[in-house]
């Protein structure tokens, strides 16, 4: 579904990605794990077009997308949930969701909303509240829901558990699985490697701009190197 071929990209003056190859198949949950500054977020930014790659190709459903502006990438079916949620705090929950369906138009908005409220009943309750008044977990849900409003085939999640209590983070992970069950492919970037690997089908381990390991999530969970470096054992 999505293929990254030998992607080089910079984040400001720093070369953050030094030739990475990633492949994601349909209906999969794939996670990217790695320490701070490994280039995980840059990878997502590069896929969604906000950051342009210096070299290499990105293919989505067989078509090159690395030269397409970000708003077009949302249209062809890739939505990103940016790091730190970035909801619009002064707009109501409903308005936030409508903004998510910006590329889809009014009719689609009406059609998708019930589906979203089914996954996130709490957002229905808080429909008319300003986004900034929600709790951290609810804001994360809103950010994910907003990205889903664009009816993506591929959802990019950047650190969805950031700053959340473990129990809330668990809830978010459960929701991600539920979304995946409904047919959305997910690429997940996480610091919480254990939870991410438990949720995913496959995983990539990144270190300083390179992919150093690639395997099924299960084998990565049992790999002694990974356990030592990222699972704190």
């Amino acid at each position: 579904m999505l293929i990254l071929e030998n992607i080089h990209a910079s984040y400001g003056p720093i070369e953050a990605l030094k030739g990475i190859n990633i492949e994601i198949k349909e209906k999969e949950i794939v996670c990217l794990i790695g320490g701070n500054g490994a280039g995980k977020s840059t990878t997502l930014m590069t896929i969604s077009g906000i950051n342009r790659p210096k070299r290499g190709r990105i293919l989505f459903e067989g078509k090159e997308i690395h030269n397409i502006p970000p708003h077009r990438i949302v249209q062809i079916g890739i939505s990103q949930v940016p790091e730190g949620r970035r909801i619009l705090p002064k707009l109501t929950v409903r308005e936030n969701l409508e903004m998510g369906a910006f590329t889809r138009g009014k009719k689609e908005t009406e059609r998708v909303l019930p589906w979203i409220y089914e996954i996130f009943p709490v957002l229905k309750e808080r429909e008319k509240q300003a986004g900034g008044t929600l709790s951290g977990g609810e804001q994360q849900m809103l950010a994910i829901a907003r990205a889903l409003m664009a009816k993506p085939k591929l959802l990019l999640l950047d650190e969805p558990s950031l700053g959340l209590a473990p129990i809330i983070a668990g809830k978010i992970f459960k929701i991600i699985r539920e979304i995946n069950d409904k047919g959305v492919t997910v690429l997940l970037v996480e610091q919480n490697a254990k939870a991410a690997l438990k949720l995913s089908h496959r995983g990539y381990v990144m270190e300083t701009g390179r992919i150093v390991m690639e395997d099924s999530a299960e084998s990565l969970l049992n790999d002694p190197e990974v356990r030592k470096a990222y699972l704190g054992e």
């Binding site: 249209q75 990103q80 970035r86 910006f102 509240q129 900034g132 008044t133």
Partner: protein, 394 residues
């Protein structure tokens, strides 16, 4: 308590000290005393008789009352009021009303750029000037009529909005403000020095007045109705775009550009659009100004004009159409009303703006979102009013 009193004392003395060089010692002392008195009065009143809650209950009641009257009827009432108003006014007042109308159009245009898209434009007067001069030149050199020039001028101003937008897009906040300020000054200097086309500081005379059928516009009352029609048109257009997808996109860009981009908003296009859409109204204001005065000169388009228009937007309430209209009215009418006070009037205006920023930073009719932004600690405002006022339309 004593601390507060000392603060009031110092504040009044400070006011006296800064006004003393202009007004002389006697007036300065008078001013100090009157400020002191009013501050003490305010303090006792706000603590005792009218509590903050009290004010809020009253304003809430007015709000629920006004929300019961359908918006459309309210709008029709105002249109009717303004239609018959000139029948009770002499030419002097009609002329001021005309000026007010032009400023309303300008302020509404700037509101799109500053209030919705959140791009601080300090060179807005440039578009006003380009509009006025384009019509002046078209009218005197090519003999184009008012109605034939109008679409050409609007196109020209729209394009100049995009031209300013391109280099300005990479910038944000203060830097953007400086670039736009430079643009405004550049435009004025070009008008001042390009003698062969703009006639330099002498300005362009004998601009043709508009005509409808056989009626040539000469009297202020003719212009009154012409301007009124354009004010209604502007209000309507801006109201529509406010509630449209594009308006939402502007708000989203103002709130969080990265998030807006991630949601599939073409931020570059939207920002250019806001610049050029705002500029169009300034151009329209310029055409009306040139047609009304029948004379344009660079003096009318100084930086001060940009500031005044920005003040109208801020005073009335950024992002609120009714607020911006009110702000424009106040800032045109107030200096007229204060004419008797001569040079104090600018001082009074400045003091009024400062007081406004201290006590009601969101503007007279600022929307609940602005209020939430400027008073993050006031949860009551934050939670309730958004529920009442915000009706998502898409």
């Amino acid at each position: 308590m004593i601390k507060k009193f000392i603060r009031i004392l110092l504040l009044s003395l400070w006011f006296g000290a800064i006004t003393f060089p202009f007004t002389g010692i006697r007036n300065a002392i008078l001013l100090s005393i009157s400020i002191m008195a009013s501050l003490i009065l305010w303090n006792t009143l706000s603590k005792g008789i009218i509590k903050r809650e009290g004010i809020e209950i009253v304003s809430k009641r007015i709000q629920t009352f006004s929300s019961k009257i359908p918006r459309r009827i309210l709008a029709l009432f105002f249109i009717f009021l303004f239609l018959i108003l000139p029948l009770f006014m002499n030419n002097y007042f009609i002329d001021i009303a005309n000026l007010t109308g032009i400023y309303i159009i300008l302020a509404l245009g700037l509101n799109v750029v500053v209030g919705l898209a959140g791009l601080l434009n300090l060179g807005f007067v440039a578009f006003y000037a380009i509009g006025a001069y384009s019509y002046a030149i078209l009218s005197t050199q090519v003999n184009f009529s008012f109605w034939a020039s109008l679409p050409i001028v609007i196109l020209l101003v729209g394009i100049s909005g995009i031209l300013l937008g391109f280099p300005a897009l990479r910038l944000k906040g203060d830097y953007l403000a400086i670039v736009t300020l430079g643009f405004g000054e550049m435009t004025r200097l070009v008008l001042n020095n390009w003698d062969s086309v703009t006639k330099g500081p002498n300005g362009i005379l004998n601009i043709a007045p508009p005509e409808v059928g056989s009626i040539v516009f000469r009297e202020p009352i003719h212009y009154y109705y012409l301007i009124l029609i354009f004010v209604i048109l502007t209000t309507f257009a801006i109201k529509r775009i406010n509630n449209s997808k594009i308006g939402r996109a502007w708000v989203a860009i103002r709130e969080d550009e990265v998030a807006a981009e991630a949601m599939g908003i073409d931020t570059v296009r939207m920002k250019l659009l806001s610049f050029s859409f705002g500029a169009i109204w300034a151009g329209l204001g310029g055409v009306l100004f040139a047609a009304k005065m029948r004379f344009v000169s660079p003096e009318s388009f100084t930086f001060f004009e940009s500031v005044i228009i920005l003040c109208m937007v801020i005073l009335g309430g950024m992002g609120s159409i009714a607020g911006v209209i009110l702000g424009a009215m106040i800032l045109v009418l107030l200096p007229e009303a204060l004419r008797g006070f001569e040079h104090y009037r600018m001082l009074a205006l400045g003091a009024g703006l400062i007081l406004m920023m201290v006590f009601k930073p969101e503007g007279i009719l600022g929307g609940p979102r602005r209020r939430a932004e400027l008073r993050p600690d006031d949860e009551r405002i934050y939670m309730q009013e958004i529920e009442i006022i915000s009706k998502p339309k898409f």
